[in-house]
Each structure stands twice: as structure tokens, then as C-alpha cells.
């Protein structure tokens, strides 16, 4: 019942904030958003799960209520947690209060609607990570788009309408392709599954129950479904070449929305890739290992190159997300304990780090009202604390040891380097991907040197002073979390590895 209470409370909170007056909607939203965070800590403390929820492991806080029946297969309210979903749930509930506080300064119109939508989105995100029934999951998955569309479209920058619609159309079209792919699998399984429960479907697929459907042999069906789902999720991640909605959405979105977009929404894509493509159809994944690894490395290098070429601080961070997501895909495709586990860990780490970067850039923007590198210099003079944290965040991005980013990337490289069995030429791919870190260091350092250090220069008609406390505080909290997770990755990594192992064992490496 605790999961129902958590999601239900967040929906009610969204409604309360929506009806609250604008003046204190932000504070109310922050207070209410702490409850899901405490709830998720409670989930963490009472977390007892073994293995992967989909492959037959024990599911923590499992709850299943029959909903309705479609063509002989039941749809139910089926939620639960395992070592892969819990860290993402904690990440979500942790980021939302911080994002809400970071919105206090920049959001100055229709506040109650803004914060209401943020909480509405949080409730649906929690649903995405906790749902274990396909229909339930899909409803939450799509329901995330609606608040995001409005958050970008109403409170965004000058080209917000274009960005919002592009985001909506891209991800919606992708969802449809994915939906069809998954449905093909369900039809192919025929009578061997009696529900849309993800564990049941995964196990039926593993048992080789996939049959002919409309004259399509099972191998072709599985491959087509894999490709359709991969495409659907790849847009969400996003990977090169379907990433073009991301920079537009990020640049136009207000800071707190960027934080949620980079911190959690992108992880929906990688989470779904892991859950659906790599857990349900591991054989197809290893057949396509080389093309997927190429896409991963391409995302790393090309994303970093694009970041190198930008003149807008926010665009730099946005493109670097594409680059970081490439590492996650690489970690998944190698099918090793450290690869898959590291990829999952990197989802959380990147959620924190990119959240920090977007927030810090947002704080600078609040003061300067420009994000163009050429327009400013020497910001460190005027806002030393914010700049200090921004620099620390950049180092976390570059993978400085004892910070979360290092742990995630290190696990992935360790897992990927020796993974010849699942991925031919694994060392080559890994080495190429590692080269991405060099570019990251290049563009982050050069951008920071230009904007933050040297003599102060900014053309304004007002005095630029230090940022207010409620702008700085979330940055500090995030940085602390990044360091804690970097020093003690086992906080999450142990449970992640426990849930990742069955996925790795599911693939026939020599086949």
C-alpha cells in the first residue's frame, strides 16, 4: 500500500498546489514534495528484494489489483520495486524538491499552475519507475508528456512553442512505434501469457514461447519488436541521430524544467531500454551489439563535439547529456555485471550531475540574463559560491574521482573493456568512448575559463551580486549528494548489481 500512498499523495499534492494562490504556491509545493522524498527513503530503508523484478526475483512492496481484461489478458494495477527501479525513484523524489526551490527565482507568472504541473509530473514519473504492468506503465509514460509540454510551452524562452511541440511530436511518435513493437510481442506470445504483467511476459519470452503471428516467424517478430522498441526509447534517451529535439527543449525550458528533463526524463528512456529491450530480448540485443555500440560511441563523440561548438552555456550542458547517455547505452550493450550495473548507476549519477549543472547555469542566468559565453567574463568575482559549485559540478561531469560521475563511468569502462564475448572489438569501442571524456574536459574547461574567470565583464544597467540563499542551497545539497555517492557508490550499486546480474545471465554470451 505504501506505493499507492506515495503516488496518490503526489497527485493530491499537485491538485492542492494547483488551487493554491500564486504567492505561496512555490513554498507549499516544496513542503509537499518533501513527503514523497521521505516516503522514498522509507521505501529504501525497508527495501528487501532479490534479483530482477522481471526475471523472477522477489519484488519489494509488490501490490497487484485486477483492473480489466483485454482479449483474454488481464490488465492490473501492478507495482513494485527492485534494485534497478528503487535508485531512480529516490533520484526522482530527491530532485523534485530541489528543482522546485530553484524555480522560486525564475518563475514569476502563474506559479500555482507551474508547481502543480511539476508535482503532477513527479507522480507520473514515480508511476513509470514503479509500474510492472505494461498498460499501467504506458499510461504513466505518456502522462509525463502532458505536463512537460505545458511546462516548456508556457514558461519557456522565446521559441518555446516550437520547442514544446517538437518535443511532444517526437516523443509521441516514438511512443507509438514502441507500443506497436511491444504489442507484436504480446500477440506473438499468444495464449502463453494471461496478463500484461511485465514479469510474466519476460519469463514467457525467456522460455521461448514466442510463436508465429500472421505468418511472421518468431525470430523475425522478435527482431522487429526489438527494433521498434529500440527506436521508440532511443528518441527518449536520446541518442544520435534522433537527438535533435533535446537541445531545443532544453534551451527553451526554464531551469527547473531542464533539471527534470535532464535529470529524470532522459532516464525514462534508458530505464525502458534496460527493462524492455535488454531484459526481455537479450538475444536480439547481442545480435545487434555492434550497431548499438556504434550508436553509443557516436552519441558520446558526436554529442561532445556538438557541445564543443556551442556558444550558449545551456546548450553545452544539453549536448553533453547526449554524450553521457551514450555511455549508458555502451554499458547496457556489453552485458556484463559492471557494464549493466554501471549503466544503471550512471543514470542516477548523471541525473544528479546534469541537474546540478543546469541549476548552476540557471543561477548565473538569473543574475546575468544571458547565457552567451561571449557576453560575460569573470563571474567568479560577483557570485563566488555559485561559481565554485558550478566548477565542482563540471569536474564531476569530467569524472573526477570520489564523485558520482567517476564511479558510474568507471564501472561502465571496467565492464565494457573486457566484454569481447558479447561485443566484438569491445576494447576498441571502449577506448573510443573514453576519448569522449577528453573532449568533455576540453569544452567545459574552456567555457568556464571564458565566463567565470578573468576580469569581470557584463553589460548591464544593474549591479550583479551574489545569488540568494534559496538559489544556492539546492546546488549545495546536490553537490553533497554527488560526493556521497562518489565516495560510497555501494549505497546504490549493491542493489543495482543484484538486479543487473539476472539480466547479464539471461544472455547466451557464446551464442
Amino acid at each position: 500500500m505504501i506505493i499507492e500512498a506515495l503516488i496518490g499523495f503526489t497527485f493530491v499534492a499537485a491538485l492542492l498546489v494547483l488551487l493554491a494562490p500564486n504567492e505561496w504556491a512555490g513554498r507549499l509545493a516544496f513542503a509537499l514534495s518533501l513527503v514523497p522524498f521521505v516516503g522514498s527513503l522509507y521505501l529504501w530503508s525497508g527495501f528487501e528484494a532479490g534479483g530482477n523484478a522481471l526475471t523472477g526475483g522477489t519484488i519489494a512492496f509488490e501490490s497487484q489489483i485486477e483492473w480489466l481484461e483485454i482479449g483474454g489478458r488481464s490488465v492490473s494495477w501492478f507495482v513494485g520495486l527492485d534494485g534497478i527501479s528503487l535508485p531512480l525513484v529516490v533520484l526522482t523524489t530527491f530532485l523534485v524538491p530541489l528543482a522546485i526551490v530553484s524555480a522560486w527565482t525564475p518563475i514569476d507568472t502563474r506559479q500555482s499552475q507551474f508547481y502543480g504541473l511539476m508535482l503532477f509530473m513527479e507522480a507520473n514519473l514515480l508511476g513509470v519507475f514503479m509500474a510492472l504492468d505494461f498498460f499501467l506503465w504506458f499510461i504513466f509514460w505518456e502522462a509525463v508528456l502532458v505536463p512537460m509540454y505545458f511546462l516548456i510551452g508556457v514558461w519557456g524562452g522565446p521559441r518555446r512553442k516550437y520547442a514544446a511541440i517538437k518535443f511532444f511530436v517526437y516523443t509521441n511518435a516514438a511512443s507509438l512505434v514502441m507500443f506497436i513493437g511491444f504489442m507484436a510481442l504480446v500477440f506473438g506470445l499468444g495464449d502463453s501469457v494471461s496478463s500484461f504483467g511485465l514479469p510474466e511476459i519476460t519469463q514467457a519470452l525467456a522460455a521461448g514461447e514466442l510463436g508465429m503471428w500472421f505468418g511472421i516467424p518468431p525470430e523475425t517478430l522478435a527482431m522487429a519488436a526489438f527494433l521498434a522498441m529500440f527506436f521508440g526509447f532511443a528518441v527518449k534517451v536520446p541518442v544520435v541521430p534522433v537527438h535533435t529535439w533535446l537541445p531545443d527543449a532544453h534551451v527553451e525550458a526554464p531551469t527547473p524544467v531542464s533539471v527534470m528533463l535532464a535529470g529524470v526524463l532522459l532516464k525514462m528512456g534508458t530505464y525502458a531500454l534496460l527493462r524492455f529491450n535488454f531484459t526481455m530480448l537479450p538475444d536480439q540485443a547481442s545480435m545487434l551489439a555492434i550497431p548499438i555500440a556504434v550508436i553509443a560511441v557516436l552519441s558520446v563523440i558526436y554529442g561532445a563535439m556538438l557541445a564543443l561548438a556551442q556558444k550558449d552555456l545551456k546548450r553545452i550542458v544539453a549536448y553533453s547529456s547526449v554524450s553521457s547517455m551514450g555511455y549508458v547505452i555502451l554499458g547496457l550493450v556489453v552485458f556484463t555485471e559492471y557494464g549493466v550495473g554501471g549503466a544503471t548507476f550512471q543514470m542516477v549519477a548523471h541525473g544528479l550531475i546534469s541537474g546540478l549543472m543546469f541549476m548552476a547555469v540557471g543561477v548565473v542566468y538569473n543574475a546575468t540574463h544571458t547565457r552567451m559565453i561571449d557576453d560575460m567574463a569573470g563571474m567568479a568575482d560577483r557570485m563566488p559560491i555559485a561559481v565554485g559549485i558550478l566548477v565542482a559540478g563540471a569536474f564531476a561531469y569530467m569524472g573526477l574521482p570520489l564523485m558520482a560521475g567517476f564511479a558510474g563511468e568507471f564501472f561502465i569502462f571496467v565492464g565494457a573493456f573486457g566484454a569481447d564475448a558479447a561485443l566484438p572489438y569491445a576494447p576498441v569501442f571502449t577506448a573510443l568512448a573514453m576519448f569522449g571524456i577528453v573532449i568533455v574536459a576540453g569544452y567545459l574547461l574552456s567555457a568556464m575559463q571564458k565566463t567565470l574567470f578573468g576580469p569581470f565583464r557584463l553589460e548591464t544597467d544593474y549591479e550583479v551580486g551574489p545569488a540568494p540563499f534559496h538559489d544556492i542551497a539546492p546546488l549545495g545539497v546536490l553537490l553533497a549528494a554527488i560526493i556521497v555517492l562518489g565516495v560510497a557508490p555501494d549505497l546504490f550499486f549493491e542493489m543495482i548489481r543484484d538486479a543487473a546480474l539476472p539480466v547479464v545471465e539471461g544472455v547466451s554470451v557464446d551464442g
Binding site: E69, I70, G71, Q113, W141, E142, F150, G153, K161, I180
Partner: protein, 503 residues
């Protein structure tokens, strides 16, 4: 408890609607001083709600269900009360209640709104009668009973040229299609020797030499159904009538009247012309409906894409939805295992559609009441002045497009899935593609309301009143659209059980 009532009590929902209509006339005739807009609206809304309550009670109690002794026949088999009849009566009564509540505000300054309410109630009576009709003669009479008040309702704004023009077009097309329909009935009677549906079915099995006559009759009856459901080839009255009519009437016609067309189609074609018997007589009406479904949904959707007027866009989208619902008849086969599933899904879709489409048209009614204009541009920035109503409208639009968080997703999904399960992948594929196209024009409304800025700062000054009845109806429809998602289980189960009784 229902068991202890006399048989004719099964007609209570129909009688409640008829009695309310007569009561309205009575009030109007004997005490004109008390015929205020409000008292009329309240009376008619109460009548519709009583009818709704009775239907829900009967459905829950299982009246006409196999478990309680099967369908109830009355008046020498001319009337048949079963779960399907009750299901559709629930749709009619809900839409009627929403429309009369909204009309109270829409006609706030009309000199004599009393006629409006009684016309709506009589039309609703006709629909409820249509749902229980078991004889082609009753079908025709009930159909006319639905249509005649509708013509008057469309032209209700006598001094508005658009309204009168729409009424005339609707009447002319309606008169022609009625003539075709009744001629079709006479041909079927000639070939089979009966008007009672089950006897017609027996006649079809032994039709032999008269198969051609029966076939022509059936084709003509398809034409009548196409008119009532606003499907190709008799759809072209719909955009004119829906655009010209007062918006509550558009809501009523496009939701309830359309559903009435479908209840006739579902009952007559499955009971009077069973697929197997028709096929062996060489009459493939399933294929005819398949082609009509594809053409109707495609035409409706593509025409909706290019509209600049929101009401006209909704009118074409309503044509498109008729195409989806036709899948319920087009995707069945002789002895097909999924027949009840796909027809039940079509019925459930019509129920969900009854709420989301009525709500959308009532939002348009509200915009007309404000006087903000009719095009997408005129809706720009409305969300700043009327956020709650605009959220409701966004719910309707997303639900009509079939996006997952709303009931429209499930109803469309069940429909397409039922078609695939029954072997009609092509129908589902065309439906899905059309659904994606529809997202474009539905999301334009949302974009205009929430993202666009008003064309001039004073453009929204018209939004100065909060019509309580309209607001209430719109919000109620939105809440129903959302709640039908978690509550879809009982709806689809009832619908499938109702459909199963037909095969």
C-alpha cells in the same frame, strides 16, 4: 427487486423521458407564467437523470440479461429490452442531461426556450425507443421521432441565417435518406415476409430467389444508417448542421443522435441479417461496412486537418469517430470468436465518446456564449482567463486523440485490438494511422488555448461571465472522461455482455 415489477416496467427509462417531455409541454401550456428558463432546464435535467438512474439500476440488476431470464419482449415482440438497449439508453440520458444543463446558460436571453427542452426530450425519447425496437416498423417510427425534433433544434435560432440554412440542409438530406431507408425496409419485408427482426433473420436464410431484392433493401438500409451516424456517403450534412446549429444542439446531435444511429445498426444488422445467413444469400454487408468505415474515418480526419473553425473541425472529427465506431460492424465475421469483443468495444467507445465529444462541443458553446469567436486564433490565450474550462477542453482533445491518460485511449485501444483479434488487421491499421493524424488538429486547440498569446490585449475581455450550468456540464464531462479510465472495466464488461447477446 426488478423481478417483482410488471414486465412493462422494463420500459420505464423510455417512459421517464417521454413523460418529462409531456410535462414540459404541460407547464408551458397551462401555466405560462412559470415557464422560466430555469424551471424548464431543471425539470428536463431531472427527467433525464431519473431515466439514467433507472437504466443504471436495471443494468446492475440484470434486467434483460441472460442470467435473469433473457431479454424482455413487449407489445407482440415489437419491443425488446436487453442489456444493449439499456447501455445505449444510458448514453442518451447522460448526454441529454449534460446538454439541457448547458443549454440553460446558452439560451439565457432567448425569448421562449421552453420549446427547446421539450424538443430535446422528445428526441431523446425517440432514441431510447430506437434502442428497444425489435421490429423494422418501430425502428422507422422511432428514427423519425428522433429526426423531426432534430431538424427544428438545428434551426432553433430562427433569426440566425446559418442556423436556418443548416436546418434546411439537414432536413433535405434527412428526408431523402428516410425515404431510402423506409424503401429498404419495404424491400426487406417483401423478401422475407416479416418486420420482426428474428423473423426477418429466418426469412433471410430461406430467401433463395429473392436474394437480390433483400440485398438492395439491405444496401438502402445501410444508407439510412449512414445518414444517422454521419458516415460516408451521407455525411455531408454533418459539418453544415453542426456548425450552423446552436452549440448545445451540435453536442446533442454529434453524440447522442450518432449513438442512436449505431444502436439501430448494431441491432438490425446482427439480429435481422446474421452474417452467416447473409453471406450464404450472397449479401456481404460486413465488407460494405468495412469500406464505409475506412472511407469515413479517413475522410473525416483529413477534412478536419484543414479546418480553421473549431466547431467545424469538431464536426469533421465527429465524422471520423463514426468511422471508428463502424469498425464494430465491419470487423465481425460468421462465427468469429471475437465478434462480441469488437462490437462491445465499439459500444464502449460510443459511451466514452458521448462524454468527451459532448464536453468539447459544450466548450464551444461556452466560447459562443462569451462571444470570443470561432477560429483557432480566437481561442488564443483563453487559458489565461478561463483556466479550469480550458483544462477540461484539453482533456477532451487529448482523449479524442486517444492519448493514454484518458478514457479515449482505452476505448480506441479495445476497438483496434478487437479488430486485430478477429482477423481484421487492416481496419485496425487504418484506424491507428487516422488516430495519429487526429492528434495534429486536436493539439492545435490545446496549443491555441495555452501557448498562444491573444491577438490583441482586449481580445479576451469578452470572457467576463461564468455561466454556472455550462461550466458544471463541461467539468462534469471532463471528470467522467478521466474517471472512465480507471473505471473502464465494468463498462467494457457490460458492453461485451450486451454484444454477446446479439450473436
Amino acid at each position: 427487486m426488478v423481478d417483482q415489477l410488471p414486465q412493462w416496467a422494463a420500459l420505464a427509462p423510455v417512459l421517464a423521458l417521454a413523460a418529462t417531455g409531456l410535462l414540459l409541454l404541460l407547464i408551458d401550456a397551462i401555466k405560462p407564467s412559470s415557464r422560466s428558463n430555469t424551471s424548464m432546464a431543471v425539470t428536463s435535467a431531472l427527467g433525464a437523470l431519473v431515466s439514467l438512474a433507472l437504466t443504471v439500476w436495471f443494468v446492475v440488476a440484470g434486467t434483460g440479461h441472460e442470467d435473469t431470464g433473457g431479454a424482455i419482449y413487449l407489445l407482440a415482440d415489437a419491443i425488446k429490452v436487453d442489456t444493449m438497449a439499456l447501455f445505449f439508453t444510458a448514453i442518451f440520458a447522460s448526454v441529454t442531461a449534460l446538454v439541457v444543463v448547458a443549454a440553460h446558460d446558452y439560451f439565457h436571453d432567448h425569448e421562449s426556450p421552453a420549446e427547446f427542452y421539450s424538443l430535446v426530450l422528445f428526441s431523446a425519447t425517440g432514441m431510447a425507443l430506437l434502442a428497444v425496437a425489435n421490429s423494422l416498423a418501430v425502428v422507422f417510427v422511432a428514427l423519425e421521432m428522433v429526426s423531426l425534433p432534430s431538424y427544428a433544434l438545428v434551426g432553433f435560432l430562427k433569426k440566425n441565417r446559418g442556423s436556418v440554412e443548416a436546418s434546411l440542409k439537414y432536413f433535405l438530406v434527412g428526408a431523402v435518406s428516410s425515404a431510402i431507408f423506409v424503401f429498404g425496409i419495404s424491400l426487406v419485408y417483401a423478401a422475407t415476409g416479416s418486420l420482426i427482426l428474428s423473423d426477418v433473420a429466418e426469412g433471410i436464410e430461406s430467401v433463395d430467389g429473392l436474394a437480390g431484392v433483400a440485398g438492395v433493401g439491405i444496401v438502402m438500409m445501410i444508407g439510412g444508417v449512414a445518414f444517422k451516424t454521419a458516415s460516408v456517403p451521407f455525411h455531408f450534412w454533418a459539418p453544415e448542421a453542426y456548425e450552423g446549429a446552436p452549440a448545445p444542439v451540435s453536442a446533442y446531435l454529434s453524440s447522442a443522435s450518432k449513438a442512436a444511429g449505431f444502436v439501430v445498426a448494431f441491432r438490425v444488422f446482427t439480429e435481422a441479417f446474421p452474417v452467416g445467413a447473409s453471406l450464404s444469400a450472397g449479401i456481404d454487408w460486413v465488407l460494405a461496412f468495412g469500406i464505409l468505415a475506412v472511407v469515413t474515418m479517413t475522410l473525416g480526419n483529413f477534412a478536419a486537418v484543414v479546418q480553421t473553425n473549431v466547431k467545424r473541425m469538431l464536426a469533421y472529427s465527429s465524422v471520423g469517430h463514426a468511422g471508428y465506431a463502424l469498425i464494430g460492424l465491419a470487423a465481425i465475421s460468421a462465427g468469429g470468436s471475437g465478434n462480441d469483443a469488437v462490437m462491445g468495444a465499439a459500444m464502449a467507445h460510443l459511451l466514452v465518446y458521448g462524454f468527451m465529444n459532448t464536453g468539447a462541443f459544450l466548450f464551444v458553446a461556452m466560447a459562443e456564449r462569451w462571444g470570443v469567436g470561432r477560429t483557432f486564433e480566437d481561442y488564443a490565450g483563453l487559458a489565461k482567463r478561463a483556466p479550469i474550462a480550458c483544462v477540461a477542453m484539453a482533456v477532451f482533445m487529448f482523449s479524442l486523440a486517444g492519448l493514454p491518460p484518458f478514457a479515449g485511449f482505452f476505448s480506441k485501444y479495445f476497438l483496434f485490438m478487437g479488430a486485430i483479434d478477429n482477423g481484421f488487421v487492416w481496419l485496425a491499421a487504418v484506424g491507428a494511422i487516422n488516430s495519429v493524424i487526429s492528434l495534429y488538429y486536436y493539439s492545435r486547440v490545446v496549443k491555441a488555448m495555452f501557448l498562444d498569446d491573444p491577438s490583441s490585449p482586449s481580445a479576451l475581455d469578452a470572457v467576463d461571465v461564468r455561466p454556472t450550468g455550462l461550466y458544471g456540464a463541461v467539468i462534469f464531462a471532463a471528470v467522467a472522461t478521466v474517471l472512465l479510465l480507471p473505471g473502464f472495466g465494468p463498462v467494457i464488461e457490460t458492453a461485451e455482455a450486451a454484444a454477446a447477446a446479439l450473436f
